[in-house]
């Protein structure tokens, strides 16, 4: 085995190890749900979340990302990005996430900003405030490191076109 081959093997091993570790630090679970009005035991109507399996155009879907730091160390500089799925239109002010700064992209994730500072341009180059349907991505930037064991959920709502 010459030096070159040894180096390649080493790099491959390192890459595999990184991938395996990456999946081991933070558990991320992606869930899509719909809300349905149901009668509870006290006879009151309440909203119940059900898995989004029967979805027709016009339905509002809640997309949630459940995260948990399952490593023994603190996760730093944590950011969750979620491209808004094709055919789904973001619902204004529906993005939530404790201790995160929420920003949006209207250029396929190249840049992010708060809604008031997002603009789109028409074919003639005129500038317009972006509407929720222009949003392509959502980003949650955690304001603090996530200590070992920290868990939570970020979410948004969108309507199927």
């Amino acid at each position: 085995m010459n030096i070159k081959n040894t180096m390649i093997t080493f790099v491959l091993l390192l890459a595999m190890q990184t991938a395996a570790l990456a999946q081991g630090h933070i558990r991320l679970q992606s869930v899509a749900e719909v809300e349905k009005k149901v009668m509870n035991e006290e006879g009151k109507i309440e909203l119940k979340r059900l898995p989004a399996t029967k979805v027709v155009p016009g339905t509002e879907v809640i997309f949630s990302q459940h995260y948990e730091n399952i490593s023994g160390e603190s996760a730093e500089n944590a950011v969750i990005t979620n491209p808004i799925p094709e055919h789904m239109v973001y619902q204004p002010a529906s993005a939530h996430g404790m201790d995160t700064k929420i920003t949006f992209s209207v250029d396929n994730g190249k840049s992010y900003n708060i809604p008031a500072k997002l603009f789109v341009f028409d074919a003639a180059g005129r500038k317009f405030p972006a509407r929720p349907k222009d949003y392509t991505h959502i980003r949650w930037t955690f304001e603090h490191p996530l200590p070992s064991g920290a868990k939570g959920t970020v979410s948004f709502r969108a309507i199927l076109e």
């Binding site: 933070i26 991320l28 992606s30 899509a32 989004a52 029967k54 879907v61 997309f63 979620n82």
Partner: protein, 340 residues
């Protein structure tokens, strides 16, 4: 100075008119095809990624998670009557046309049946529906080379629209203003879909075995259209346009040339069916060959492609065939004779 101001005002008025006109024109633009929603069977996939570093190690790390679901089919349909008002008919009258627009307002390919009910209350007569047709030859309005509605129904893609014609015979014995209604019903042919409450789940009835859901139309749509008897009247006014005698005067003497003029007026409402105007040449007069005009345009004497002839349809007679003529209409027939 004042004049300049007036000109300025005029300019602004003109601008305003143009703006108003532009706004009206914009409002008149055909609406874009209404998108009924994401196509049935589409997979909606959501993927999120968390980016982070661990402890004091600056190596960027990521974890990605995904989920997906499929869009179900919504079964919806819209049928609307297209004629601007009751279709004017005579009593009796055969194969009169009502026009409807059928639109698949769901999000998947769907087959629909069409049925027509001509025995309805609240009207004065019952039209007898003869046949249903689907516009197919590219020419607006019913023509006999459009496609007869097949008894198995019509399959339409999401958003697709089809023009439907209903042909009915009108019974005899009804008068001006009498109305006869026809109700057409379009129903989804998916089993157990039509007339079910919105939201009804039909397991496995969508594309690729996906479920389907009955939409707000209850998977059916009805539209009622009306015929109304409109009396039509035809009047003929014959006059002598000109006499030119052999001496250049206007005396009706032997050899004088006489121009006759017949005004045909179709008035009232409805259709004058199979209208033919015939005028035998009087005794002691001779038709001048090639002198027949309709609204100033020459018609040949032969029985050929044009509307008129002489001595062919009937002996020694000028004949002009108008066929079915919708009121109001006016024609002027002119021809020349000589006095024997």
């Amino acid at each position: 100075m004042k004049r300049l101001k007036e000109e300025k005002n005029n300019y602004f008025c003109t601008l305003l008119v143009w703006w108003a006109l532009a706004a009206v024109l914009a409002a008149m633009q055909p609406l874009p095809a209404y998108a009924v929603g994401t196509a049935a069977g589409t997979t909606i996939a959501n993927t999120a990624t968390v980016y982070y570093t661990l402890g004091s190690d600056p190596t960027p790390l990521t974890v990605t998670a995904s989920n997906s679901f499929d869009v179900l089919e919504v079964i919806d349909v819209a049928l609307t009557w297209q004629d601007a008002a009751s279709v004017p008919v005579n009593s009796p009258h055969s194969d009169r046309v009502l026009t409807f627009l059928l639109t698949n307002t769901g999000n998947g390919s769907e087959a629909f049946s069409l049925t027509a009910d001509d025995v309805l209350g609240g009207d004065q007569f019952d039209p007898a529906v003869q046949s249903l047709w689907i516009e197919s030859n590219g020419n607006a309005g019913f023509q006999s080379d459009d496609t007869p509605y097949p008894a198995t129904g019509i399959t339409m893609a999401a958003d697709e629209a089809a023009t439907v014609y209903v042909l009915s015979d009108i019974p005899s014995g009804y008068g001006d203003g009498d109305r006869g209604d026809v109700q057409v019903t379009a129903q989804s042919l998916t089993p157990s879909a039509a007339d079910q409450p919105p939201g009804t789940l039909l397991t496995g009835s969508g594309p690729g075995g996906l479920d389907a859901v009955v939409g707000t139309s209850r998977a059916e749509s009805r539209a009622t259209a009306a015929y109304a008897v409109a009396t039509v009247s035809v009047s003929l006014t014959k006059s002598i346009g000109q006499i030119v005698d052999l001496a250049g005067g206007d005396r009706p003497s032997t050899g004088a040339r006489v121009t006759y003029r017949i005004q045909v007026d179709v008035s009232g409402g409805g259709t004058a069916q199979a209208l033919v105007v015939s005028d035998p040449i009087p005794a002691n007069m001779t038709y001048v060959p090639g002198s027949l005009l309709l609204d100033g345009v020459a018609l040949t004497d032969a029985a050929d492609g044009d509307m008129g002839d002489f001595d062919n349809t009937a002996l020694n007679t000028v004949t002009v065939v108008f066929n079915d003529t919708v009121a109001p209409a006016t024609w002027i027939i002119a021809f020349e004779t000589t006095i024997d």
